[in-house]
Protein backbone atom coordinates (compact mmCIF):
# COMPACT_ATOMS: atom_id res chain seq x y z
CA UNK A 1 0.00 0.00 0.00
CA UNK A 2 1.39 3.36 -0.95
CA UNK A 3 1.41 5.90 1.80
CA UNK A 4 1.91 9.58 2.10
CA UNK A 5 -0.51 10.74 -0.56
CA UNK A 6 -3.34 13.06 0.15
CA UNK A 7 -6.27 10.78 0.84
CA UNK A 8 -9.67 12.10 -0.13
CA UNK A 9 -12.32 11.44 2.47
CA UNK A 10 -15.98 10.98 1.73
CA UNK A 11 -16.39 11.90 -1.90
CA UNK A 12 -14.44 13.84 -4.49
CA UNK A 13 -15.20 17.36 -5.45
CA UNK A 14 -16.12 16.04 -8.91
CA UNK A 15 -18.73 13.75 -7.42
CA UNK A 16 -20.12 16.77 -5.65
CA UNK A 17 -20.07 18.99 -8.74
CA UNK A 18 -21.84 16.28 -10.69
CA UNK A 19 -24.84 16.56 -8.36
CA UNK A 20 -25.25 20.30 -8.86
CA UNK A 21 -27.88 20.06 -11.63
CA UNK A 22 -30.16 17.90 -9.48
CA UNK A 23 -29.70 20.11 -6.43
CA UNK A 24 -30.44 23.19 -8.51
CA UNK A 25 -33.61 21.67 -9.95
CA UNK A 26 -35.02 20.86 -6.54
CA UNK A 27 -33.92 24.19 -5.06
CA UNK A 28 -35.48 26.10 -7.95
CA UNK A 29 -38.77 24.32 -7.56
CA UNK A 30 -38.65 24.74 -3.78
CA UNK A 31 -37.84 28.47 -3.72
CA UNK A 32 -39.32 29.55 -7.03
CA UNK A 33 -36.39 31.85 -7.71
CA UNK A 34 -33.14 31.28 -9.48
CA UNK A 35 -31.22 33.55 -7.16
CA UNK A 36 -32.57 32.09 -3.94
CA UNK A 37 -32.11 28.57 -5.30
CA UNK A 38 -28.49 29.12 -6.28
CA UNK A 39 -27.75 30.72 -2.90
CA UNK A 40 -29.24 27.69 -1.23
CA UNK A 41 -27.31 25.23 -3.39
CA UNK A 42 -24.06 27.17 -2.93
CA UNK A 43 -24.45 27.08 0.86
CA UNK A 44 -25.33 23.40 0.72
CA UNK A 45 -22.28 22.62 -1.42
CA UNK A 46 -19.98 24.35 1.04
CA UNK A 47 -21.53 22.62 3.99
CA UNK A 48 -21.48 19.24 2.24
CA UNK A 49 -17.81 19.63 1.35
CA UNK A 50 -16.89 20.60 4.90
CA UNK A 51 -18.88 17.70 6.32
CA UNK A 52 -17.97 15.18 3.65
CA UNK A 53 -16.35 12.84 6.15
CA UNK A 54 -19.83 12.26 7.60
CA UNK A 55 -21.13 10.75 4.38
CA UNK A 56 -21.17 6.95 4.38
CA UNK A 57 -19.67 5.74 1.10
CA UNK A 58 -22.24 2.94 0.87
CA UNK A 59 -25.16 5.35 0.95
CA UNK A 60 -26.85 7.42 -1.72
CA UNK A 61 -24.84 10.62 -2.16
CA UNK A 62 -27.69 12.48 -3.80
CA UNK A 63 -30.13 11.77 -0.95
CA UNK A 64 -27.44 12.80 1.54
CA UNK A 65 -26.91 16.07 -0.31
CA UNK A 66 -30.65 16.72 -0.36
CA UNK A 67 -30.62 16.23 3.41
CA UNK A 68 -27.72 18.66 3.81
CA UNK A 69 -29.55 21.18 1.65
CA UNK A 70 -32.72 20.66 3.63
CA UNK A 71 -30.88 21.54 6.83
CA UNK A 72 -29.42 24.64 5.24
CA UNK A 73 -32.90 25.55 4.05
CA UNK A 74 -34.47 25.05 7.47
CA UNK A 75 -31.69 26.86 9.31
CA UNK A 76 -31.57 29.70 6.85
CA UNK A 77 -33.94 31.84 8.88
CA UNK A 78 -31.79 34.91 8.44
CA UNK A 79 -31.79 34.55 4.70
CA UNK A 80 -35.40 33.52 4.62
CA UNK A 81 -37.37 35.17 1.91
CA UNK A 82 -40.86 34.57 0.72
CA UNK A 83 -41.42 32.11 -2.06
CA UNK A 84 -40.94 34.01 -5.26
CA UNK A 85 -44.10 35.05 -6.93
CA UNK A 86 -45.03 34.25 -10.45
CA UNK A 87 -43.81 37.68 -11.48
CA UNK A 88 -40.38 36.89 -10.16
CA UNK A 89 -40.28 33.83 -12.33
CA UNK A 90 -41.18 35.92 -15.32
CA UNK A 91 -38.65 38.63 -14.56
CA UNK A 92 -35.84 36.18 -14.61
CA UNK A 93 -36.34 35.53 -18.24
CA UNK A 94 -37.52 32.04 -17.54
CA UNK A 95 -40.81 32.69 -19.15
CA UNK A 96 -40.10 30.24 -21.90
CA UNK A 97 -40.38 27.00 -20.06
CA UNK A 98 -40.60 24.53 -22.86
CA UNK A 99 -39.57 24.11 -26.45
CA UNK A 100 -40.92 26.48 -29.05
CA UNK A 101 -43.69 24.05 -29.88
CA UNK A 102 -45.32 24.88 -26.57
CA UNK A 103 -48.84 26.00 -27.10
CA UNK A 104 -50.29 28.91 -25.21
CA UNK A 105 -52.32 26.41 -23.24
CA UNK A 106 -49.23 24.48 -22.16
CA UNK A 107 -47.60 27.73 -21.20
CA UNK A 108 -50.58 28.61 -19.04
CA UNK A 109 -50.49 25.18 -17.40
CA UNK A 110 -46.88 25.68 -16.41
CA UNK A 111 -47.57 29.13 -15.03
CA UNK A 112 -50.49 27.80 -13.04
CA UNK A 113 -48.22 25.14 -11.57
CA UNK A 114 -45.63 27.78 -10.57
CA UNK A 115 -48.32 29.76 -8.88
CA UNK A 116 -49.92 26.77 -7.19
CA UNK A 117 -46.56 25.57 -5.87
CA UNK A 118 -45.95 28.98 -4.36
CA UNK A 119 -49.24 28.74 -2.49
CA UNK A 120 -48.53 25.28 -1.13
CA UNK A 121 -47.34 25.09 2.49
CA UNK A 122 -43.60 24.52 2.36
CA UNK A 123 -43.79 21.15 4.18
CA UNK A 124 -46.14 19.85 1.52
CA UNK A 125 -44.15 21.43 -1.30
CA UNK A 126 -41.00 19.64 -0.15
CA UNK A 127 -42.62 16.23 -0.15
CA UNK A 128 -44.45 16.72 -3.44
CA UNK A 129 -41.18 17.82 -5.10
CA UNK A 130 -38.88 15.21 -3.59
CA UNK A 131 -41.24 12.44 -4.63
CA UNK A 132 -42.86 13.79 -7.78
CA UNK A 133 -39.95 15.70 -9.30
CA UNK A 134 -36.81 14.18 -7.79
CA UNK A 135 -38.29 10.68 -7.70
CA UNK A 136 -36.99 9.83 -4.27
CA UNK A 137 -38.60 6.85 -2.59
CA UNK A 138 -40.91 7.62 0.33
CA UNK A 139 -38.26 6.26 2.69
CA UNK A 140 -35.57 8.48 1.16
CA UNK A 141 -37.85 11.51 1.41
CA UNK A 142 -38.48 10.67 5.07
CA UNK A 143 -34.75 10.53 5.71
CA UNK A 144 -34.04 13.77 3.88
CA UNK A 145 -36.74 15.62 5.79
CA UNK A 146 -36.10 13.78 9.08
CA UNK A 147 -39.74 12.89 9.51
CA UNK A 148 -41.53 9.54 9.85
CA UNK A 149 -42.61 7.90 6.63
CA UNK A 150 -46.26 8.15 7.74
CA UNK A 151 -45.85 11.90 7.84
CA UNK A 152 -44.38 11.82 4.33
CA UNK A 153 -47.46 9.99 3.10
CA UNK A 154 -49.96 12.30 4.78
CA UNK A 155 -48.15 15.43 3.56
CA UNK A 156 -48.02 13.92 0.10
CA UNK A 157 -51.78 13.35 0.09
CA UNK A 158 -52.54 16.81 1.38
CA UNK A 159 -50.04 18.46 -0.94
CA UNK A 160 -51.21 16.65 -4.04
CA UNK A 161 -54.88 17.27 -3.29
CA UNK A 162 -54.22 20.93 -2.56
CA UNK A 163 -52.27 21.28 -5.80
CA UNK A 164 -55.12 19.68 -7.69
CA UNK A 165 -57.55 22.12 -6.16
CA UNK A 166 -55.32 25.12 -6.92
CA UNK A 167 -54.75 23.98 -10.50
CA UNK A 168 -58.48 23.45 -11.04
CA UNK A 169 -59.18 26.94 -9.73
CA UNK A 170 -56.42 28.34 -11.89
CA UNK A 171 -57.79 26.94 -15.09
CA UNK A 172 -61.37 27.89 -14.24
CA UNK A 173 -60.97 31.49 -13.19
CA UNK A 174 -59.71 34.53 -14.98
CA UNK A 175 -57.14 35.36 -12.37
CA UNK A 176 -54.49 36.92 -14.51
CA UNK A 177 -52.21 33.93 -14.44
CA UNK A 178 -52.42 33.52 -18.15
CA UNK A 179 -50.91 36.88 -18.76
CA UNK A 180 -48.29 36.50 -21.45
CA UNK A 181 -45.29 38.67 -21.01
Amino acid sequence: MRQGHWVPTGFTVEQLLAQIPRLRRYARALTGSREAADDLVQDALERAWTKRALWRPDSNLRAWLFAVMHNVFVNGVKRARPMASLDALNEEGNAEPVASSASAETDATLREMSSALAQLPVEQRQVVLLVGLEQLTYAEAAEVLEIPIGTVMSRLSRGRDRLRQLLDEGSDGQNGLRRVK
Binding site: V7, L17, M153
Partner: protein, 260 residues
Protein backbone atom coordinates in the same frame (compact mmCIF):
# COMPACT_ATOMS: atom_id res chain seq x y z
CA UNK B 1 -64.36 -5.68 -2.91
CA UNK B 2 -63.18 -3.28 -0.27
CA UNK B 3 -64.48 0.16 -0.83
CA UNK B 4 -61.39 2.20 -0.18
CA UNK B 5 -57.96 1.86 -1.67
CA UNK B 6 -55.10 2.72 0.68
CA UNK B 7 -53.70 6.14 -0.13
CA UNK B 8 -50.20 4.76 0.01
CA UNK B 9 -51.11 2.33 -2.73
CA UNK B 10 -52.56 5.11 -4.81
CA UNK B 11 -49.39 7.21 -4.44
CA UNK B 12 -47.21 4.22 -5.24
CA UNK B 13 -49.34 3.62 -8.33
CA UNK B 14 -48.77 7.19 -9.48
CA UNK B 15 -45.06 7.15 -8.61
CA UNK B 16 -44.36 3.88 -10.37
CA UNK B 17 -43.67 1.92 -7.21
CA UNK B 18 -45.93 -1.08 -7.87
CA UNK B 19 -45.37 -4.43 -9.51
CA UNK B 20 -47.41 -5.16 -12.60
CA UNK B 21 -49.71 -7.44 -10.61
CA UNK B 22 -50.35 -4.71 -8.09
CA UNK B 23 -50.92 -2.22 -10.87
CA UNK B 24 -53.50 -4.51 -12.39
CA UNK B 25 -55.36 -4.72 -9.08
CA UNK B 26 -55.31 -0.94 -8.67
CA UNK B 27 -56.52 -0.40 -12.20
CA UNK B 28 -59.39 -2.81 -11.66
CA UNK B 29 -60.36 -0.83 -8.60
CA UNK B 30 -60.05 2.51 -10.42
CA UNK B 31 -62.32 1.26 -13.21
CA UNK B 32 -65.09 1.02 -10.63
CA UNK B 33 -64.27 4.23 -8.77
CA UNK B 34 -64.09 7.14 -11.20
CA UNK B 35 -63.46 9.71 -8.47
CA UNK B 36 -60.41 7.88 -7.21
CA UNK B 37 -59.31 7.42 -10.80
CA UNK B 38 -59.61 11.16 -11.42
CA UNK B 39 -57.56 11.82 -8.30
CA UNK B 40 -54.79 9.47 -9.45
CA UNK B 41 -54.84 11.01 -12.90
CA UNK B 42 -54.53 14.51 -11.45
CA UNK B 43 -51.57 13.45 -9.32
CA UNK B 44 -49.82 11.83 -12.27
CA UNK B 45 -50.40 14.95 -14.36
CA UNK B 46 -48.82 17.03 -11.60
CA UNK B 47 -45.62 14.97 -11.78
CA UNK B 48 -45.57 15.44 -15.52
CA UNK B 49 -46.02 19.21 -15.30
CA UNK B 50 -43.32 19.47 -12.63
CA UNK B 51 -40.86 17.82 -14.98
CA UNK B 52 -41.89 20.02 -17.89
CA UNK B 53 -41.47 23.05 -15.68
CA UNK B 54 -38.16 22.26 -14.00
CA UNK B 55 -36.19 19.73 -16.02
CA UNK B 56 -34.70 22.54 -18.06
CA UNK B 57 -32.84 23.64 -14.91
CA UNK B 58 -30.71 20.51 -15.29
CA UNK B 59 -29.22 21.85 -18.51
CA UNK B 60 -28.72 25.44 -17.43
CA UNK B 61 -25.26 26.98 -17.22
CA UNK B 62 -24.45 28.16 -13.71
CA UNK B 63 -21.55 29.58 -11.74
CA UNK B 64 -21.67 27.55 -8.54
CA UNK B 65 -18.32 26.58 -7.08
CA UNK B 66 -16.85 24.44 -4.35
CA UNK B 67 -13.94 25.85 -2.36
CA UNK B 68 -11.42 23.13 -1.61
CA UNK B 69 -8.49 24.36 0.47
CA UNK B 70 -7.78 27.40 -1.61
CA UNK B 71 -8.55 25.71 -4.90
CA UNK B 72 -11.82 26.42 -6.51
CA UNK B 73 -13.59 23.70 -8.38
CA UNK B 74 -16.22 25.02 -10.69
CA UNK B 75 -18.56 23.69 -13.30
CA UNK B 76 -18.79 26.71 -15.59
CA UNK B 77 -20.32 24.86 -18.47
CA UNK B 78 -22.62 21.91 -18.62
CA UNK B 79 -20.19 19.05 -18.77
CA UNK B 80 -23.12 16.67 -18.99
CA UNK B 81 -23.86 18.07 -22.40
CA UNK B 82 -20.28 17.86 -23.58
CA UNK B 83 -19.92 14.33 -22.33
CA UNK B 84 -23.20 13.29 -23.86
CA UNK B 85 -22.28 14.89 -27.15
CA UNK B 86 -18.83 13.35 -27.09
CA UNK B 87 -20.28 9.95 -26.39
CA UNK B 88 -22.72 10.30 -29.24
CA UNK B 89 -20.01 11.39 -31.64
CA UNK B 90 -17.63 8.69 -30.57
CA UNK B 91 -20.12 5.85 -30.55
CA UNK B 92 -18.74 3.19 -32.75
CA UNK B 93 -15.55 5.07 -33.52
CA UNK B 94 -13.31 2.16 -33.73
CA UNK B 95 -11.30 1.78 -30.60
CA UNK B 96 -12.48 -1.76 -30.19
CA UNK B 97 -12.16 -2.32 -33.91
CA UNK B 98 -8.61 -1.02 -34.11
CA UNK B 99 -7.48 -2.61 -30.90
CA UNK B 100 -8.30 -6.01 -32.32
CA UNK B 101 -5.42 -5.90 -34.74
CA UNK B 102 -6.28 -3.52 -37.54
CA UNK B 103 -3.36 -1.40 -36.56
CA UNK B 104 -2.19 0.18 -39.75
CA UNK B 105 -4.50 2.80 -41.12
CA UNK B 106 -5.36 2.24 -44.74
CA UNK B 107 -3.28 4.33 -47.11
CA UNK B 108 -4.74 7.78 -47.28
CA UNK B 109 -6.88 7.22 -44.24
CA UNK B 110 -6.89 9.80 -41.51
CA UNK B 111 -4.04 9.56 -39.07
CA UNK B 112 -4.61 7.08 -36.30
CA UNK B 113 -6.54 8.30 -33.31
CA UNK B 114 -4.62 9.46 -30.29
CA UNK B 115 -7.08 7.38 -28.30
CA UNK B 116 -5.60 4.19 -29.71
CA UNK B 117 -2.11 5.42 -28.95
CA UNK B 118 -3.15 6.22 -25.41
CA UNK B 119 -4.88 2.89 -24.78
CA UNK B 120 -1.79 1.01 -25.95
CA UNK B 121 0.57 3.04 -23.81
CA UNK B 122 -1.71 2.81 -20.82
CA UNK B 123 -1.93 -0.96 -21.14
CA UNK B 124 1.84 -1.24 -21.48
CA UNK B 125 3.02 0.99 -18.66
CA UNK B 126 0.32 1.14 -16.01
CA UNK B 127 0.95 -2.42 -14.74
CA UNK B 128 4.65 -1.61 -14.31
CA UNK B 129 5.36 -1.68 -10.61
CA UNK B 130 8.96 -0.50 -10.59
CA UNK B 131 9.33 1.46 -13.82
CA UNK B 132 6.00 2.99 -14.76
CA UNK B 133 7.76 6.22 -15.78
CA UNK B 134 11.17 7.23 -17.06
CA UNK B 135 11.39 10.45 -15.06
CA UNK B 136 9.56 10.73 -11.76
CA UNK B 137 7.57 13.69 -10.50
CA UNK B 138 10.39 14.49 -8.09
CA UNK B 139 12.08 15.95 -11.15
CA UNK B 140 8.93 17.49 -12.53
CA UNK B 141 10.62 20.58 -13.96
CA UNK B 142 13.21 18.51 -15.72
CA UNK B 143 10.51 16.13 -16.96
CA UNK B 144 8.40 18.90 -18.47
CA UNK B 145 11.38 20.71 -19.96
CA UNK B 146 12.53 17.49 -21.58
CA UNK B 147 9.12 16.53 -22.96
CA UNK B 148 8.43 20.09 -24.13
CA UNK B 149 11.71 20.06 -26.04
CA UNK B 150 10.95 16.76 -27.71
CA UNK B 151 7.38 17.76 -28.56
CA UNK B 152 8.55 21.21 -29.60
CA UNK B 153 5.88 23.07 -27.60
CA UNK B 154 5.53 23.93 -23.91
CA UNK B 155 3.89 21.06 -22.08
CA UNK B 156 2.15 21.50 -18.74
CA UNK B 157 1.24 18.84 -16.22
CA UNK B 158 -2.27 19.49 -14.90
CA UNK B 159 -2.74 18.92 -11.19
CA UNK B 160 -5.30 16.27 -10.30
CA UNK B 161 -4.56 16.45 -6.58
CA UNK B 162 -8.05 17.60 -5.70
CA UNK B 163 -9.33 14.30 -7.05
CA UNK B 164 -6.68 12.45 -5.12
CA UNK B 165 -4.39 11.71 -8.07
CA UNK B 166 -0.76 12.66 -7.81
CA UNK B 167 1.66 13.05 -10.68
CA UNK B 168 3.90 10.00 -10.77
CA UNK B 169 6.10 11.11 -13.65
CA UNK B 170 6.30 10.72 -17.38
CA UNK B 171 7.96 9.15 -20.36
CA UNK B 172 8.47 9.54 -24.04
CA UNK B 173 6.73 7.07 -26.35
CA UNK B 174 8.29 5.85 -29.57
CA UNK B 175 4.97 6.35 -31.28
CA UNK B 176 4.29 5.14 -34.76
CA UNK B 177 1.36 7.51 -34.92
CA UNK B 178 3.28 10.37 -33.45
CA UNK B 179 2.52 14.03 -33.48
CA UNK B 180 2.98 16.19 -36.53
CA UNK B 181 4.30 19.63 -37.19
CA UNK B 182 3.95 20.08 -40.88
CA UNK B 183 5.72 17.07 -42.37
CA UNK B 184 7.79 16.44 -39.30
CA UNK B 185 6.74 13.66 -36.93
CA UNK B 186 7.29 14.22 -33.23
CA UNK B 187 7.14 11.71 -30.41
CA UNK B 188 4.35 11.34 -27.93
CA UNK B 189 4.51 12.16 -24.22
CA UNK B 190 2.88 10.23 -21.42
CA UNK B 191 2.22 11.59 -17.94
CA UNK B 192 1.10 9.13 -15.32
CA UNK B 193 -0.94 9.84 -12.21
CA UNK B 194 -1.72 7.63 -9.27
CA UNK B 195 -4.12 7.84 -6.32
CA UNK B 196 -3.71 6.50 -2.81
CA UNK B 197 -5.31 3.19 -3.79
CA UNK B 198 -2.68 2.72 -6.47
CA UNK B 199 -5.13 3.41 -9.29
CA UNK B 200 -3.39 4.99 -12.26
CA UNK B 201 -4.33 7.38 -15.03
CA UNK B 202 -2.38 8.12 -18.19
CA UNK B 203 -2.46 11.48 -19.92
CA UNK B 204 -1.08 11.05 -23.41
CA UNK B 205 -0.11 14.18 -25.32
CA UNK B 206 1.00 14.65 -28.90
CA UNK B 207 1.29 17.54 -31.33
CA UNK B 208 -1.69 18.16 -33.55
CA UNK B 209 -1.76 20.22 -36.68
CA UNK B 210 -3.99 23.26 -36.65
CA UNK B 211 -7.54 22.84 -37.91
CA UNK B 212 -7.88 19.48 -36.27
CA UNK B 213 -11.39 18.77 -35.04
CA UNK B 214 -11.41 19.84 -31.40
CA UNK B 215 -14.51 17.99 -30.19
CA UNK B 216 -14.38 15.99 -26.99
CA UNK B 217 -14.62 12.31 -27.72
CA UNK B 218 -15.01 9.22 -25.66
CA UNK B 219 -14.14 5.62 -26.30
CA UNK B 220 -13.93 2.46 -24.26
CA UNK B 221 -12.04 -0.80 -24.49
CA UNK B 222 -13.08 -3.34 -21.91
CA UNK B 223 -12.89 -1.64 -18.52
CA UNK B 224 -10.62 1.09 -19.81
CA UNK B 225 -12.09 4.43 -20.82
CA UNK B 226 -10.52 7.27 -22.75
CA UNK B 227 -11.55 10.87 -23.28
CA UNK B 228 -9.64 12.68 -25.99
CA UNK B 229 -9.66 16.16 -27.46
CA UNK B 230 -7.51 18.79 -29.12
CA UNK B 231 -6.55 22.00 -27.35
CA UNK B 232 -4.03 24.45 -28.71
CA UNK B 233 -0.95 22.76 -30.19
CA UNK B 234 -1.67 19.44 -28.50
CA UNK B 235 -4.01 16.52 -28.71
CA UNK B 236 -4.76 14.99 -25.31
CA UNK B 237 -6.06 11.60 -24.30
CA UNK B 238 -6.85 10.77 -20.70
CA UNK B 239 -7.05 7.04 -20.05
CA UNK B 240 -8.11 5.21 -16.92
CA UNK B 241 -9.63 1.97 -15.77
CA UNK B 242 -12.76 3.83 -14.76
CA UNK B 243 -16.26 4.13 -16.05
CA UNK B 244 -17.23 6.98 -18.32
CA UNK B 245 -18.74 9.21 -15.63
CA UNK B 246 -15.78 8.83 -13.31
CA UNK B 247 -13.32 9.58 -16.09
CA UNK B 248 -15.43 12.49 -17.34
CA UNK B 249 -14.96 14.43 -14.12
CA UNK B 250 -11.20 13.91 -14.31
CA UNK B 251 -11.08 14.88 -17.98
CA UNK B 252 -12.98 18.01 -17.15
CA UNK B 253 -10.46 18.78 -14.45
CA UNK B 254 -7.56 18.33 -16.88
CA UNK B 255 -9.28 20.56 -19.40
CA UNK B 256 -9.93 23.25 -16.80
CA UNK B 257 -6.37 23.12 -15.49
CA UNK B 258 -5.02 23.59 -18.98
CA UNK B 259 -7.46 26.45 -19.60
CA UNK B 260 -7.39 28.47 -16.40
Amino acid sequence: MRKGLGEEILHAYVDGGLTSDERGAVEAHLALHPETAARARAWATQNEILHRLFDRVLEEAHTLKVETRGRVAAAPFSWRNVAALAATLALGIGIGFMARGYWAPAPGAARASIAREALLAHAAYVPEVRHPVEVTAREEQHLLAWLSKRLDAPLKAPSLLQSGYQLLGGRLLPAFAGGTIGDKTTPVALLMYENSQGKRLSLVVRRESPNTDTAFRFAQEGRTSVFYWVDGPFGYALVGDLNKDELAVLARLVFQQLNP
